[in-house]
Amino acid sequence: MARRLEIALAVGIVSLMAAGASQAGDRAAELTALVREDCGSCHGMTLKGGLGAPLLPADLAEKDASSLAAIILDGVPGTPMPPWRGLVSEADARWIAEHLKQGFPQ
């Protein structure tokens, strides 16, 4: 599965995804693994925070999904938060942001 994710990311299939925060089941599973495993290396697998900020719903309540999606795509300059543009599409970022705010799937 994760190998497929990598291939998908590498060849940019993601850019073909429909816009909006709904994702087909497979892509949703790939993004869930990406967030738990690879965002998790800085934010913690449970998203309680680590070197990166906590990303639980209570922590993000004040922030709207589009600004979070923008952070995911463009990073936070001067901090370790990297820009994920190129690895995740705008639709992916939006999907991640909305699900972070709702309580991220396991």
Partner: protein
């Protein structure tokens, strides 16, 4: 290994079959030494594998250690007890002979790693929330001291890069305060603190050379390392290997580089660049940069073969299926291979005949012959990450 064999192996771990009688206090081996035991973190399931390194075999799977993403372990001097530091602030003492949890405490909200004093008496945890370090009795994990990390900026800081130094001392860096501290517990549990300020922006990890002389903290907010010569009468901080991003685009870093297990090779230290697909060679005699070697991607761990001639390197997402071997003597990458999806960690056997590689997304640990660089065995594990062999018990700063 073919797919069916892999699945079978995976299942036997999942069910903890009879060969791995887990938990409940029964000895996993009737009578044995501990010098060839290892502990492997299964990050997602909060479990660890106790492995027989010589036999390439899992002896036991121990569960109930909490959130083990980014977990590390240290060993007591008898090589019987492992102390596992979890992300959720859990500190667990594991009896590797009885294959069970001896004691477990939740010592902080969010932790990053730990160390053990040279006499084996003190376990120290390094924390994110709240920041600072805490000291525990190695026997019963009773808390002995808590040292907040309030920097000169008045803010509590995450602590990173914690290492032990001779004489019940510990060095660590303050990520949010740009400082390095040395805490000396030789006279009791109210430590004498030596503080270095303005060491450079956002120290993210650090390590010390095996002679306890050079402490280096990697900086994230600038391209360089903060260096303290601990042998000096009056140690001070200097900046070394700085400016490696100058005039070049700093590439995004999808996983922080680590200095744990770094590649010390004689008088050369092999360091991961932050923001370049390179490793940086530092000469420890001159403290000058010797070379920059282009690598496959953003390096994460640069681990020296125990004799030092080679350094094996793994990489950040999304190029983390690859490992490269640098010959430090000729300064050439001599081998590149793909163990599998998401290579998270590497550990050499104490004298370097094998290297064990955790391949997270394949749910296995691969065992390579180091001379021939061929795979000779594998062990199943659920999302394995850190691999720790007991020989670390007798390595300074490890």
């Amino acid at each position: 290994m073919n797919r069916r064999a892999f699945l079978t192996a995976g299942v036997s771990v999942g069910l903890a079959g009879p060969a791995m009688a887990a938990g409940a206090g029964e000895a996993c081996a009737p009578m044995r030494g501990t010098g060839d035991l290892g502990l492997i973190i299964e990050r997602a399931t909060g479990s660890v594998l106790i492995v027989d390194v010589g036999a390439h075999k899992t002896l036991s799977r121990i569960e109930g250690l909490g959130d083990l993403s980014h977990a590390t372990a240290v060993f007591g001097p008898s090589e019987r007890y492992a102390y596992v530091f979890g992300r959720d602030g859990g500190l667990t003492k594991v009896d590797m002979l009885a294959c069970r949890i001896e004691k477990r405490v939740i010592q902080a909200g969010n932790a990053i790693g730990g160390a053990i004093s040279d006499d084996g008496a003190l376990i120290v945890a390094s924390n994110y929330t709240p920041g600072g370090i805490k000291v525990f009795d190695a026997n019963d994990l009773g808390e002995l001291a808590s040292v907040p990390a309030i920097g000169a900026n008045g803010k509590p800081s995450k602590t990173v890069g914690l290492v032990d130094l001779p004489g019940r001392r510990f060095a660590y860096a303050l990520y949010d305060a740009d400082e390095i501290w040395i805490a000396d517990f030789s006279a009791g549990m109210s430590p004498a603190l030596t503080k270095f300020t303005n060491v450079g922006r956002l120290p993210y990890d650090a390590n010390v050379t095996s002679d306890a002389r050079h402490y280096l903290a990697g900086l994230f907010g600038e391209d360089g390392f903060a260096h303290v010569d601990l042998w000096a009468d009056k140690p001070e901080v200097t900046r070394v290997v700085s400016g490696y991003n100058a005039g070049r685009e700093k590439l995004p870093i999808y996983k922080m580089p680590h200095l744990e297990g770094w590649g010390q090779s004689g008088s050369t230290l092999v360091l991961p660049a932050a923001g370049q697909h390179e490793v940086l060679l530092l000469n420890l005699e001159t403290m000058r940069e010797e070379a920059r070697i282009p690598a496959h991607s953003q390096p994460v761990f640069c681990v020296a073969r125990p004799d030092g001639r080679e350094v094996w390197i793994n990489f950040a997402h999304p190029h983390n299926n690859t490992v490269q071997v640098l010959d430090v003597f000729t300064r050439k990458i001599v081998h590149t291979f793909q163990p599998g999806p998401a290579v998270l960690h590497l550990e050499f056997t104490p004298r370097g005949h094998e290297v064990w590689i955790s391949v997270r997304d394949a749910d296995r640990i691969d065992i390579y012959d180091v001379r021939t660089r061929t795979k000779k065995a594998e062990i199943a594990g659920v999302k394995p990450s850190g691999i720790f062999f007991t020989a670390r018990a007798h390595r300074l700063g490890a």
